[in-house]
């Protein structure tokens, strides 16, 4: 540990560090230009979709005929128009990056002599299982908050997120989660006077 380590800052696609604390190591660096292109395309289409949605919604805003000045539709049209323009620009950028022509894409940024665009570098692969668990844990908080109460729901959220982040010390995690949720519950409801659903604790603490 005494020797100065080489810089490890943001080396996308570089060798991943050895897994720690029972972490699984997905194959980072698998990403290629093709994946990047798909992402850009999806982003452009998403923005265009939002613009279309806003435009359609703006048409449905009722304007009272007696209102002479620019009404509640004007700004929505403006925003949807702006988003539409951005979407088209993103689409053009994505098309320029399309992985079609003769596989010479790796050389292109260097050859064209342009300053490298931020985000042009290939990104490390997404580890989807962890993302899905965190999202599901948040949906669980939504479903359980009022049914099971804040403490139970939050302890479960804490435990699930810790699991998604690679922790396998189930006992410690659930204890820390319950402790944290309980302290927060007491401080927020008793000291700060906020209302949180107590669930079964409402009867216990009385």
């Amino acid at each position: 540990m005494e020797t100065p380590l080489p810089e490890q800052r943001s080396n996308p696609g570089g060798p991943s560090l050895p897994p720690q604390e029972g972490r699984r190591a997905p194959d980072a660096g698998r990403d290629s230009r093709g994946v990047l292109f798909t992402g850009d395309l999806l982003l452009a289409l998403g923005v265009l979709g939002l613009a279309a949605f806003l435009f359609a919604g703006a048409l449905n805003i009722r304007v009272s005929p007696s209102y002479a000045h620019i009404g509640p539709r004007f700004f929505p049209f403006l925003v949807s128009g702006g988003l539409g323009a951005c979407g088209l620009a993103l689409l053009a950028q994505a098309a320029r990056r399309a992985p079609a022509k003769s596989g010479s894409l790796e050389e292109r940024p260097a050859a064209s002599g342009k300053p490298p665009v931020v985000g042009d570098a290939p990104k490390p692969a997404v580890y989807w299982p962890s993302v899905a668990i965190v999202a599901a844990a948040l949906a669980g908080q939504f479903l359980l908050m009022e049914r099971a109460g804040f403490v139970v729901a939050s302890a479960l959220l804490f435990w699930a997120v810790a699991f998604a982040f690679g922790s396998r010390r189930y006992g410690r995690d659930i204890l820390v989660g319950i402790g944290l949720a309980f302290v927060v519950y007491v401080v927020f409801t008793r000291l700060l006077g906020l209302h949180l659903p107590g669930g079964m604790l409402t009867t216990m603490l009385r």
């Binding site: 100065p4 380590l5 810089e7 490890q8 800052r9 991943s16 560090l17 050895p18 972490r23 699984r24 190591a25 997905p26 980072a28 992402g39 982003l43 923005v47 939002l50 806003l54 805003i61 304007v63 000045h69 509640p72 700004f75 929505p76 988003l83 951005c86 950028q93 342009k114 300053p115 931020v118 990104k123 490390p124 692969a125 997404v126 580890y127 989807w128 993302v131 965190v134 999202a135 948040l138 908080q141 939504f142 908050m145 009022e146 804040f150 959220l157 804490f158 997120v161 810790a162 998604a164 982040f165 995690d173 820390v176 989660g177 944290l180 927060v184 927020f188 906020l194 209302h195 949180l196």
Partner: protein, 503 residues
């Protein structure tokens, strides 16, 4: 010397025992979350908003100001010891500071960052004290057209200077503005984009969007990047005090950084990012130890860190005097003002001098507290860096859902949080900056209001924005901010081409 009298009254407010405790709570919390990797002052203020609602506004804003300053100090510690800048403004600090830490001068790096933050922060707070009243006098003459032009300027600078891609910055800004459209139109009472849900009539709360983008989006992104492992913390070795040589090299850099950071932060010029970059290249040019840059030069920490803090104070100038936020944290602070039924701007200085000057005075006090918190006690904070990632993100998400739920005890808010968090993850993944979205959400509805007011006064005549001199100037500046970087690139490319041709 009206200002000094007002500042004196402000100190009387700030030095009451209650408000000093608020300030201490603020700077402590700010330092704490500033150090935790992955969350910044914007998120902290957003999470605390529901808690302070219905309480004393003076104390709340003194605490928010403390969190704001504290987050800057804490962020530099993370950058130096962990080399993961929590915000874009500490990227430079991470550069040289982390190298210093690896060379065994981590203590000196932390010291020069903390003392530099104090020196520049105090300088800049003094700048705020004297610039703000002057700007208020100008702003009193602004009409809706000028305000709208000013907001357009803020939109363009924020999007063109933050992040790498102009199109992506604009997309983020417009996405925020689209979210801002949801709810009842203030002028006509028409419901817009509520999807038929009663809960949406009040609009989407900025807390939900900020927490969704900053906490949930960030957590999802971190979860997707597990393979990269946790970054390594560099232990602080050697003395935490600077030696004579390090003092001599640091103090001019602090002053220069402060002088660079404050005006650039006070102009609506995209927050603290630019001045830190400028300070770094300036120090590098002026240094007699240029060879040390890239291997841990102390000027490269002192200057940018001072510029960072001075710019943070500068951002408060347009926020307080004009009601224009130019950073995500400032946008949340503006939302906080709105929650208390206050609108920052020239009238705030007239109607709530106790609040404004109490807050400004508390900044001087907070800076002093932060120096104490961050120098002798830095060893304590460093321990926070060793909290395991699973527990850290578990805790962040518990607090995130708690803060959002307690806004109005509504499950719809929790669902919205998840949706916006997923959008935030996608933005993060696609390198779309999230800060413009928060600014657009807050500033969009205000801009719409001023636009429609201006056009109501002019009877629908759009030339009003170009015939009034201040408004026309501001719009011209906005155009320059938008087209300037692109033009500069074209000019540079052409010059390079002609040079190649000449050879």
């Amino acid at each position: 010397m009206d200002t000094l009298k007002l500042l004196w009254d402000g100190f009387a407010v700030a030095f009451s025992l209650k408000n000093m405790l608020w300030a201490l709570a603020g700077v402590t919390l700010g330092t704490m979350v500033g150090i935790l990797p992955g969350i910044g002052p914007a998120l902290t203020v957003a999470l605390l908003l529901p808690v302070t609602f219905g309480r004393d506004p003076v104390g709340s804003f003194i605490m928010f100001a403390g969190i704001y300053y504290g987050g800057m100090y804490g962020g530099s510690t993370t950058a130096i010891l962990l080399n993961t800048p929590g915000e874009s403004a500490s990227i430079i600090t991470a550069l040289e500071g982390n190298l210093m830490a690896r060379r065994g001068r981590g203590g000196a790096a932390l010291a020069t960052a903390a003392i530099g933050s104090f020196v520049a922060g105090t300088l800049a707070t003094a700048g705020l004290t004297f610039l703000a009243p002057a700007l208020v006098r100008v702003a009193l003459r602004f009409g809706p057209a000028e305000y709208f032009a000013l907001m357009v300027l803020a939109f363009t600078t924020v999007t063109s200077l933050l992040g790498g891609s102009l199109v992506k910055g604009l997309t983020s800004l417009l996405f925020g503005m689209a979210l801002g459209l949801v709810g009842i139109d203030l002028q006509t009472g028409q419901a817009r984009y509520t999807l038929g849900m009663l809960e949406m009539l009040d609009g989407i709360d900025v807390v939900i969007v900020a927490v969704g983008l900053f906490a949930v989006g960030e957590a999802l992104y971190a979860a997707s990047q597990l393979a990269r492992g946790a970054p390594e913390v560099v232990a602080v070795r050697g003395s935490i005090w600077m030696n004579r040589e390090e003092w001599r090299r640091s103090w001019p850099a602090w002053i220069r950084g402060g002088l660079l950071g404050f005006p650039l932060g006070a102009l609506p010029a995209g927050g603290a990012e630019i001045p830190t970059f400028l300070s770094y290249s300036l120090e590098r040019r002026l240094s007699r130890h240029r060879d040390e840059f890239g291997r841990g030069a102390i000027e490269g920490v002192a200057g940018p860190e001072a510029a960072n803090n001075a710019a943070a104070a500068g951002v408060l100038v347009p926020l307080l005097t004009l009601g224009i936020p130019t950073s995500a944290t400032a946008a949340i602070m503006l939302a906080a003002f709105q929650q208390f039924g206050l609108q920052p701007g020239p009238l705030l200085f007239q109607n709530n001098p106790e609040l404004v000057w109490g807050m400004i005075a508390s900044l001087y006090l907070g800076n002093a507290m932060l120096l104490v918190l961050n120098l002798p006690l830095v060893g304590l904070w460093v321990r926070l860096l060793t909290v395991p990632q699973p527990l850290l993100y578990g805790g962040i998400l518990v607090f995130a859902t708690l803060g959002v739920y307690s806004l109005s005890n509504s499950l719809v808010d929790l669902m919205t949080l998840l949706v916006i968090g997923l959008v935030g993850f996608a933005m993060r993944r696609m390198d779309v900056p999230v800060a413009p979205a928060v600014i657009g959400l807050i500033l969009g509805p205000l801009a719409e209001q001023q636009l429609r007011r201006a056009l109501a006064i002019s009877q629908g005549d759009f030339t009003v924005f170009f015939t009034r001199p201040i408004s026309a100037t501001l719009l011209a500046l906005a155009l320059i901010a938008l087209a300037g970087p692109a033009l500069a690139r074209i000019v540079a490319a052409r010059r390079r081409k002609s040079r190649v041709a000449a050879m």
